[in-house]
């Protein structure tokens, strides 16, 4: 089969589309008045849905931070230093996550379909996999949930329990969160612990996005 034959088959296909009059039956091309209605419909799917999810996470995050700040203000005494320190650290990690979510929303709105296919698809996929980055930042706050009940009285009153139970538990969570921070990335997306950690739906969409990202990388490579 020659090159021309491939193109001729395609031309014949084109001719038949015209000949079959099927396009005359297509209301989509002529129905511009439904544009606004469709925009509302589309807001429920795709990138807009991703943006909606991130907006919801920002809202929930702000409420959580407000609650923690209120607790901190109510407990402003020197003897509550561990409690205040722990909550402040948690607040910092949540503020970081919100900043990331805000940045993602800006990026979603910057996606421009008039750019090249590789650029646009790469941006979309990277946004989808960015959930991983936020998740691993949020994992870093875990050890602070085990320190907020620490107090001077606990350390001096029962040092054995403190040093042999409370500290090791915190160290364990610290080590675990650092390990997760370092290992939650798309290279490990196929591993069992990763699949257990993320729900099947999240995992499926992340795996799909990761695979497509690899496909884009492959496509960009100069073929030898």
């Amino acid at each position: 089969m020659e090159d021309m034959e491939l193109k001729n088959i395609w031309k014949e296909y084109d001719r038949r589309i015209e000949e079959s009059k099927i396009l005359n039956m297509q209301s989509w091309a002529l129905n511009i008045k439904t544009y606004e209605y469709l925009q509302t419909q589309k807001a429920k799917s795709g990138l807009n849905a991703l943006s909606g999810f991130k907006k919801w996470m920002i809202f929930a995050g702000i409420l959580f931070i407000a609650f923690l700040v209120l607790l901190i203000i109510k407990s402003l005494k020197f003897q509550n230093i561990y409690f205040i320190g722990s909550l402040s650290s948690i607040v910092i990690f949540n503020i970081l996550a919100i900043i990331f979510y805000l940045r993602h929303i800006v990026l979603i709105h910057e996606i421009d379909n008039t750019e090249s296919l590789v650029e646009v698809q790469e941006k979309i996929v990277k946004l989808q996999t960015s959930t991983l980055r936020i998740t691993k930042i949020l994992f870093l706050q875990t050890p602070f949930y085990s320190t907020f009940f620490w107090s001077r009285a606990m350390i001096t009153g029962n040092p054995t329990a403190f040093f042999f139970i409370a500290v090791p538990v915190t160290l364990f969570f610290a080590a675990l969160s650092i390990w997760l921070y370092r290992n939650i990335n798309y290279h490990n997306a196929g591993k069992r612990w990763f699949r257990i950690l993320f729900s099947s739906k999240e995992w499926t969409s992340i795996i799909k996005a990761v695979n497509f990202l690899k496909e884009i990388e492959e496509f960009k490579k100069e073929a030898v």
């Binding site: 099927i22 091309a29 090249s116 650029e119 497509f212």
Partner: protein, 167 residues
């Protein structure tokens, strides 16, 4: 505004076969096909203000249509079609005796294209639409050399597949 709409509809009218072919290449069923076509038209309308006269209209249109189709395909990706994609348009009677073979070849070409990865599929559509390598490179965002090499490899695969079929 009315003039803008009229001009836009004229351009869509002129290019509707391209939109139709892109939809057929990225959709497995009729309902998805119509949804995607509508989505492409919406995206084109929405991007009207961003049209840069520095580029050719076709480059702009292909970028939007293919980006929309690939995003749609990734979102809606389902199992392979059970009926030929062109079934609904190739029922037209033709007195030409060779029509059966030609129809089978069109369906085969379609099937082969649909087996390609999303970006390779876009590349092949542009090649078959007789876009030059420079425009294909611009639409896809890769180099002309890369376009040439990839096209040559995909064509070779297509030819091999055609050879395995007896018409």
């Amino acid at each position: 505004m009315q003039t803008d709409q009229e001009e836009f509809l004229r351009l869509i009218e002129e290019n509707k076969r391209i939109i139709f072919k892109i939809c057929n290449s990225y959709c497995y069923n009729k309902n998805d096909h119509d949804d995607l076509a509508q989505e492409i038209v919406c995206q084109l309308w929405k991007s009207c203000g961003k049209f840069d006269t520095e580029y050719k209209f076709s480059t702009w249109m292909y970028r939007i249509a293919l980006n929309t189709a690939i995003s749609f395909y990734r979102k809606e990706k389902k199992s392979a079609p059970t009926v030929p994609l062109t079934e609904h348009l190739l029922h037209v009677e033709d007195n030409d005796g060779g029509t059966g073979i030609l129809e089978a070849k069109i369906n085969s070409l379609h099937q082969f294209i649909n087996e390609l990865k999303a970006l390779d599929r876009a590349l092949m559509i542009l090649y078959l639409e007789e876009k030059n390598y420079s425009e294909i490179a611009e639409i896809l965002g890769i180099t002309e050399t890369n376009v040439a090499t990839k096209i040559s490899r995909i064509k070779e695969k297509l030819k091999q597949k055609f050879l395995t079929i007896n018409y």
